[in-house]
Amino acid sequence: MTTGAVKKATAMIEAIHALLDPDNLFLRYALIMGGLASISFGIIGTFVTIKRIGYLAGAISHSVFGGIGLAIFLQVNVGLTWFDPILGATLAAVISAVIIGLVSLHAKEREDTIIGTLWAVGMAAGILFIDRTAGYFNLSSYLFGDILLISKKDLIYVGCLDTLVLGISILFFNRFFSVCFDSEFMALRGINTTFFYLLLLILTSLTVVLLVRIVGIVLVIALLTIPPAIASFYAKRLWQMMLFSILLCSFFTSAGLLISYSFSLSSGPTIIILSGAAYLMMLIFHKWIRN
């Protein structure tokens, strides 16, 4: 082994040791959080990928920042200490999911313009709120993720949302399948397609909030769509694609977290580079196999 490789191996072993160290509880929390969130990410990411609404999810995730800004503003300036940034993010996510969903259903040719506007306005509102808030605030921790911020409360929050997403997805699996494959036909069977489309977007928005802590608002979309994109090379049925996406997503988050810890890198970008590289390699591999 070269010295470089030895260094790398030592760094990884240190990371694993760090896991067992009670002082490094945050790393353990981050890994558990990544694993738990992967369940929602694999399921919802698959729906988002096959319905091709990745840009809608992008708009939702960016407008989440408006909610985070508002929550911090209310906490510091108005004294509403219970108004947690994650609560603000959740509220903003659900509201923007409904607005963006209705726009995408009714705006027709103006759809991309309106959604692009909501995307930017949500983001801008968040920054203005923070401008008006006294004290130091680390913007980049929300934009690109920061595992040091993860607390036990976040884990409980992720667990609850996971249960919700999993439960609703199992209950309405056939409904969501149909709304993604052919919603016009579904409407002809007498089912309210608007309701299930909006429900799917609300679940998407809640899922996006799940991983804002680890990968941040800007990068979250990649983690939502890359695992299903890789899974789609192999999966013949929807549930297979979901299962494979869950496994891939938890692999990317945990491997990314360990690498970022070992080499003192930002967690979010490390996870995204890892999954992005894996996806590109799979693309090239499949192109090559086909020729």
Binding site: I50, R52, L171, F172, F173, N174, R175, F177, S178, C180, F181, D182, E184, F185, M186, A187, L188, R189, G190, I191, S232, A235, K236, R237, L238, Q240, M241
Partner: protein, 251 residues
């Protein structure tokens, strides 16, 4: 309520973005009809189907299906859309796709009966053995047949098909229309088609749509009429054209 008519369109007008697509259309489709909807692109063929399905609302006029508004009669209509609007990379088996035809407002999951009906429908279009094949692995003609099976498995009284023979070869076209001809003994069928010469061998009537709608029994089809429908701008590939006994002349 007129008896014997499955579909009644009365004085229907429909426009989209200031373009009048259909103008004062009145059409009666009797039970057991097998009609082909023909006309130039953008002439309103798909619009006509969507008005019957209630997916589009007319600006003026009334649509009645089995004496009810389309929204209430939809459950009895089987619909096969143009498959171009479906995502062909979608991870689904043939069975997954056909089962969509068994969706109901109340049941969340599919029952044994739903699966049996789906299997019967797949069998009816001659695709048994393909149930667990990926939908995206099928050829164009096979996909069309599966979408017909999806329309069939709700046991409809009316079957509406939008260009079921687009992008398929002649053999597949013959095959599909033989299936439809057999199904016609059980249900009313309207099928949008480009290929008037070909379909006139199978269907009972031809519905010509170009802003106005005219219905002709196939026995009266001749060259003059076809020219009239297409306003003389017709270019048709007559690889399988049959003329009436008298023949037809071109000036």
């Amino acid at each position: 309520m007129e008896t014997g008519h499955d579909i009644i369109l009365e004085n229907i007008s429909f426009s989209y973005k200031q373009n009048q697509i259909l103008e004062d259309v009145t059409l009666f489709i009797h039970k057991g009809e097998f009609a082909s909807i023909v006309g130039p692109n953008g002439g309103g063929k798909t619009t006509l189907l969507k008005l019957i399905l209630g997916l589009l609302k007319p600006d003026k006029g009334k649509v009645t299906i089995f004496g009810k508004p389309p929204e209430q009669a939809r459950q009895k209509i089987g619909y096969m859309p143009q498959y171009a609007h479906l995502d062909m990379d979608f991870p689904a088996t043939v069975m997954d796709v056909v089962l969509m035809g068994r969706l109901t407002r109340t049941a969340l999951w599919f029952s044994k009966k739903d699966r049996a009906e789906a299997l019967a429908a797949i069998d009816e279009v001659g695709m048994s053995g393909f149930t667990s094949t990926g939908f995206n692995e099928l050829s164009g003609g096979q996909k069309q047949r599966i979408l017909i099976a999806r329309a069939l498995c709700s046991r409809p009284a009316i079957l509406l098909l939008d260009e079921p023979t687009a992008n398929v070869d002649h053999e597949t076209e013959v095959n599909l229309f033989s299936i439809l001809q057999a199904l016609n003994s059980k249900m009313t069928i309207l099928v949008v088609s480009h290929d008037l010469g070909f379909v006139s061998k199978y269907v009972k009537s031809v519905i010509c749509v170009n802003r106005k709608v005219v219905i002709h029994p196939t026995t009266l089809m001749n060259g003059m009429l076809i020219k009239d429908i297409y306003h003389g701008d017709l270019k048709m590939v007559r690889h399988d054209h049959r003329c009436s006994e008298e023949g037809h002349c071109h000036d």
